[in-house]
Symmetry: C2
Subunit: 345 residues, 2 copies
Amino acid sequence: MQTIQLNTKSRPSTVFCGKGALFLRGKDVFVVTDSNVYRLYKELIAEKFAGGVCVVPAGERHKNRNTLFKILDSMLEARLHRSSVVVALGGGVVGDMAGFTAALYMRGTRLIQIPTTLLAQVDSSVGGKTAIDYRGVKNVLGAFYQPERVYCDPLFFNTLPPREIKCGLGEIIKTGVLDAVVGDKIRQNADKLRDLGFLHELAADCVRFKARVVEQDETERGGLRKCLNMGHTTGHALELLYGRRSHGEYVLIGMWLESYIAEGEGVCSHEYAEEVRKTVALAEPRIPRFASPEECIRFALLDKKNEEKDKISFILPKARGEYAEYSLSAERFAEYLKLLQENRA
Amino acid sequence: MQTIQLNTKSRPSTVFCGKGALFLRGKDVFVVTDSNVYRLYKELIAEKFAGGVCVVPAGERHKNRNTLFKILDSMLEARLHRSSVVVALGGGVVGDMAGFTAALYMRGTRLIQIPTTLLAQVDSSVGGKTAIDYRGVKNVLGAFYQPERVYCDPLFFNTLPPREIKCGLGEIIKTGVLDAVVGDKIRQNADKLRDLGFLHELAADCVRFKARVVEQDETERGGLRKCLNMGHTTGHALELLYGRRSHGEYVLIGMWLESYIAEGEGVCSHEYAEEVRKTVALAEPRIPRFASPEECIRFALLDKKNEEKDKISFILPKARGEYAEYSLSAERFAEYLKLLQENRA
């Protein structure tokens, strides 16, 4: 088991990664989970935690205001106080919502993340971002709220559907493009990218990288934390537009597409853009066609990172372990989308 | 004009107090205000700020989920981004709600407080507490979110109803009991407590005291910030129960009542309890009768400060400039309420 410390200004956070990491138990612990996780781990929850359970419907489309207030209602009914411990037991959606309610309830209760998916263990449970989607905009309402502890235990992987593995791979590959060490490890072990033991080892490397980034720029003000959004500008837009695939898959597609922008705008060489696309292809060999570039742009313009009117902000790959923030007009983005569509027709 | 700096871990905050403090203007500034303030200061708003206005209905009963989302909707419609500036222009209710939306929108926009009431200038606009009431519990959903700047300008006092002056006096008197210097100033100038010029001078002293407390314990974890809740345990309960008077008046009534608890529990001497009651009487000479002690206890048990089941937490006066945190069983609180009721019958 590895222990990774993440010290931000707001609160120290400790991440435990590896087999046996989930050593927590407690009688006053209140658990928020979703219907899928509850069905599979009802006994584990009953055995370990006795402070109440709130089960929300599974799925990204429930990451909304209604579910948020459903959780808050159950916290009030359980008479939680400011020192109560809230556990987010589930994937990224549960982590985002339970984390957000913990941030809001009485201006903040104690929070522990127990991520059950590869995506959540690699990325979303660490770093304190919490949010809900609202009025068609992803994560537009939320808070930065650090969990006191995160327990990343592979015990949950046995029940993960293959789609979830690919989803987690999306964020792992992203980290591999941002960080040269993780990138080398991925390229050198391309044959092991479906091996859960190896993926969990990579997950700890990704958490370590993310912890260093978040420590330097917790609230994404200094600019550094923005790098974690690589592939997400296009990815989020496609996710809002289609919503059929997982978040991680859309991040992979976004990175693939944005590698062409990076190349076209002279941010990186053709050779490096090809390397990024090859790395993406290790997880996602078939990039789908986009039906409506106009709609894609409409959603991209809603992105939180944008700060100029009618400009869309990207994090583009530059070289191994290097990236650049880049702003593109909506028209220029449309040209890239159309060009890629025509070339693939 | 005085400038008071408040440096917390999360964000530095500057408070400008005095005539001419409101020197801010800006074309990209988005204003949240209420119907009363908008009616009186429509021209001032139009002259100074051009980034959009959201007008919410006036009054504490609108400090709820519906109004919160109304503001968030208007922020989305105005296409605010993370670097946009949100101005809370109004009293405590507007400050709490606009501050809360600024904390949530895209996980935090820039926030400026322009308090228009004595209460808000003395207390609520400073220190970063934001919240809404929900399901009958005061401020149960909220965030600690520091404004970048606070402009406390007495220009708004000309339009303040007398009731609002008494409301602000409540928090001034509270500070006078917590802080020996402010307390002396109040007692030595008892005849000036209706003089708006003098009150504004006191307001700056109160802000300075609060800033030192908040700097040491921003999120009310270390215990120090709790002292600002003196009089509020009973005050909030009565406010929820009756709601006819202003927040500040209920704080005064709460302090009066809790002085008897402090005396009865041996936390302070009879002489000092009498001094507290005399100071309270400078602002609130007539303490009303409480109709239903049972209901009052029910609401007091919902208080955020409580951490033990069926115990109610108080901040009690101990000596000049000294206070003590004290936990009382619900039964014992009931005895005090009944005793006070019988003695006044």
